[in-house]
C-alpha cells in the first residue's frame, strides 16, 4: 500500500561534533546564557570551575530563551572562544 508521508525526508542537516579538546588550560570558553531564570547563576559557578582549570571565559547571551538564537549570535560564538557551553536553567 502506498502512503503519503507526513514527514519531510529532507530535514537532514548533518553537523559533525568537533573533536573533544585535550585540555582546558589556555582555552577560552564562551558561556552562552539563554536567558532562562537562574541561568546566570549556573554559568557563574561554571566560570569559577573553568578558571580553576586555567581556562578564560567570555559571557554571551541569546536574545530570549523562547526562540532560537539569531544568526548574529550563532556566528559570533566561534569568534570569541575555542569552546562553548550553552546554559539551560530554571
Amino acid at each position: 500500500m502506498e502512503y503519503v508521508s507526513p514527514l519531510d525526508p529532507r530535514v537532514a542537516q548533518p553537523v559533525r561534533p568537533a573533536p573533544r579538546p585535550a585540555g582546558l588550560a589556555g582555552r577560552t570558553v564562551v558561556l552562552l546564557d539563554i536567558r532562562k531564570a537562574r541561568g546566570d547563576e549556573f554559568l557563574d559557578r561554571l566560570a569559577e570551575l573553568l578558571h580553576e582549570r586555567g581556562a578564560a571565559t567570555v559571557r554571551m547571551a541569546k536574545e530570549t530563551f523562547s526562540k532560537p538564537a539569531s544568526g548574529e549570535v550563532v556566528a559570533a560564538v566561534p569568534l570569541h572562544g575555542d569552546l562553548a557551553v550553552e546554559a539551560l536553567a530554571d
Partner: protein, 483 residues
C-alpha cells in the same frame, strides 16, 4: 550486497542525520537495538562514557519508542532511529538485537557481535566494559523479522509502527485519500517550515496529517489556515513546540466556516463529540509533531503536556453571543471565516450559578484566572482565553457590558498588593515593588481574549491560562475555500 551509509535517519538529539555523517571516516561501531528487548536495554546501560571508535546506536523503533528507550537506558552515544519498515536494519542484515557491527574505514562492514557478549563487545569497542553479570545474554529478534510473520501487521498497526500517530488510531493516508483531501490544491505549495526540525509543510503533507487525523475534505481549509497561522513568526511555534510548559495550540473558528465544516459551538463546545472540532485540532497537532518533529519525549520537552494537546478546536457560538465575535474584534468582516490560533494551558472550568451582578461574576472569573500559570506569578505577559458560556454572557449583556467592558473589569479585579505575592515562583516586578504596590495579573488588559461558546443552559465558563513568557501572540487567518 555491501550495506551502505547513505540512509538518513531521524536522530533523538536533533535533525535527521545521514549514517555516513554519524560514523565519520570510520572505523566506527553501529549498535542495533530496540525498545522491547531487555538485552538491548542491558547493552545500552553498560556502554562506557567514551569509546575509542565512534559509536552510533540504531534503534529499530518509532520515534516515541526510541525516546522512551533512551530515557530508560541513558546510553553514552548518539541514538538514530530506524523507523518502520526498518530499511537500514534490513540492509545491514541485522536479524537479532543487540548486534554491534564494525564499520571499516571506507564504509564496509566488519565483524559483528550478536546479543550481549561482554568480552567480545569490549574487544570490538576497544574499551573495558563493567565487570558485572551476566557476561553473556541472548538477544531478541529484529523488528523487521516480525513483519515477515504470516498475517503481518494490519494497516492501523502499521501506522503506529511508523510513528504516524499521537497515540490514538489514525486513518492511513493513502494516495487516494490525500488527493481527495487536497481537492485540487497544489500539493507542492508550501506553508513554511515547521520547527523544531524544519520539515516543510507542503499542502500534500498537511493533507496527509488531515487524513491521519480523520478530517473530511470540508475540514481541510480550516486545517490549512490553522497551520499557516501557527507558522506566523508572531506565534513562535518553535518555542511552543519544545517548551517544558504544558501548553499547546488551540484553534478558534469564527464565521460561516463553523457551519460549513459541521463544528459544534454549543453544548459541549470544548469537546468531545464532534468530528470537525476533534479532527481539525488533531490535524494541526499531527503536523507539528510529524512534519515538525515535535514528538513528546523527543524534541517536545513538555513536562506534563495536557489532554488538549491531542488537538483542540473550538467554534465561537456567535448566534448565542450578545457580542461581536472574535474575528470581528480582530479586524475581519463579520461574514468572513477565520481561524485564530492561541497557545494555552488546559482549561479551568469556572462554575457560577449564584452571581446576580456583572461585577460579582467578573470577580469570579478573575479569581479563577489568578490561579493560572502559577498562582504568585503576576503579571502574566501572554494571552489568556476566557470562554464565556451563553448564560454568563447574557448576564453581562443585561448589565450593558460589552467585551471591552468585561475585559477591563476582569483586569481590574485581578489585582493584589506585591506583599501578598512574594511566595514561590514570582516575578522580578513583584520582588522589586513595595509591599503595598498594586500588581495586576496581566501586564496589559489586551492580553485577555473573550469568546462565547457552549450550551444555552448551565453556568459554566472556562479560562485557559497562557503559555507565559513564550512571547507568543494569537494569530488569525482567513479561511480560503477555493483551491
Amino acid at each position: 550486497m555491501v550495506p551502505g551509509l547513505t540512509a538518513s535517519l531521524p536522530a533523538l538529539d536533533g535533525p535527521a542525520l545521514r549514517l555516513a555523517d554519524a560514523v565519520g571516516e570510520g572505523p566506527a561501531v553501529l549498535l542495533f537495538v530496540h525498545a522491547d528487548c531487555p538485552t538491548s536495554l542491558l547493552a545500552l546501560r553498560r556502554l562506557p562514557a567514551e569509546t575509542p571508535l565512534p559509536l552510533v546506536v540504531i534503534a529499530q523503533d518509532t520515534l516515541p519508542e526510541a525516546a522512551r528507550l533512551a530515557r530508560r537506558a541513558r546510553p553514552h552515544a548518539r541514538v538514530l532511529v530506524d523507523v518502520p519498515p526498518y530499511a537500514v536494519s534490513r540492509e545491514w542484515d541485522v536479524t537479532t538485537v543487540p548486534t554491534a557491527v564494525l564499520v571499516r574505514a571506507g564504509g564496509g562492514p566488519g565483524r559483528r557481535v550478536v546479543g550481549w557478549d561482554r568480552e567480545a563487545l569490549a574487544g570490538l569497542l576497544g574499551v573495558a566494559l563493567p565487570d558485572e553479570p551476566p557476561a553473556q545474554k541472548p538477544g531478541c529478534g529484529s523488528r523487521w523479522t516480525y513483519q515477515e510473520q504470516p498475517g503481518g501487521l494490519d494497516e492501523l498497526e502499521d501506522m503506529f509502527e511508523r510513528g504516524w500517530s499521537d497515540g490514538l488510531p489514525v486513518v492511513p493516508p493513502t494516495r487516494e485519500r490525500v488527493e481527495a483531501m487536497l481537492g485540487g490544491r497544489d500539493p507542492a505549495r508550501s506553508l513554511g517550515r515547521v520547527p523544531p526540525v524544519g520539515g516543510e509543510a507542503t499542502l500534500e503533507r498537511v493533507a496527509a496529517c488531515a487524513v491521519l487525523a480523520g478530517c473530511r475534505p470540508e475540514h481541510f481549509p480550516l486545517v490549512e489556515a490553522a497551520v499557516e497561522a501557527a507558522l506566523d513568526p508572531a506565534f513562535n511555534i518553535h518555542g511552543i513546540n519544545v517548551t517544558t510548559q504544558p501548553a499547546g495550540p488551540i484553534v478558534i473558528v469564527n464565521g460561516p466556516a463553523r457551519e460549513r465544516a459541521g463544528l459544534n459551538s454549543g453544548m459541549g463546545a470544548l469537546g468531545p463529540g464532534t468530528r470537525g472540532n476533534a479532527t481539525v485540532g488533531r490535524a494541526l497537532r499531527l503536523c507539528l509533531s510529524l512534519t515538525g518533529g515535535a514528538v513528546p519525549g523527543g524534541l517536545d520537552r513538555s513536562t506534563l503536556g495536557h489532554p488538549g494537546k491531542v488537538g483542540l478546536c473550538i467554534a465561537e457560538n456567535e448566534e448565542a453571543s450578545p457580542w461581536p465575535p472574535l474575528h470581528v474584534e480582530r479586524g475581519f468582516a463579520a461574514g468572513a471565516s477565520t481561524v485564530t490560533v492561541l497557545a494555552c494551558d488546559a482549561p479551568l472550568s469556572v462554575s457560577d450559578h449564584r452571581s446576580r451582578s456583572a461585577e460579582e461574576l467578573a470577580l469570579v472569573l478573575a479569581r479563577a484566572a489568578e490561579a493560572t500559570w502559577s498562582p504568585f506569578w503576576w503579571p502574566m505577559d501572554d494571552d489568556t482565553l476566557f470562554v464565556v458560556c451563553p448564560e454568563h454572557a447574557a448576564l453581562f449583556a443585561a448589565a450593558g457590558w460589552d467585551k471591552q467592558r468585561l475585559r477591563r473589569e476582569i483586569f481590574e479585579a485581578a489585582v493584589r498588593p506585591a506583599g501578598e505575592l512574594r511566595r514561590g515562583e514570582t516575578t522580578p516586578l513583584v520582588r522589586e515593588s513595595c509591599d503595598d504596590e498594586s500588581i495586576h495579573k496581566w501586564s496589559d488588559r489586551e492580553r485577555i481574549l473573550i469568546v462565547c461558546a457552549g450550551g444555552e443552559a448551565g453556568r459554566y465558563s472556562a479560562v485557559f491560562g497562557p503559555c507565559d513568557g513564550m512571547g507568543t501572540r494569537p494569530v488569525t487567518r482567513e479561511v480560503r475555500w477555493s483551491t
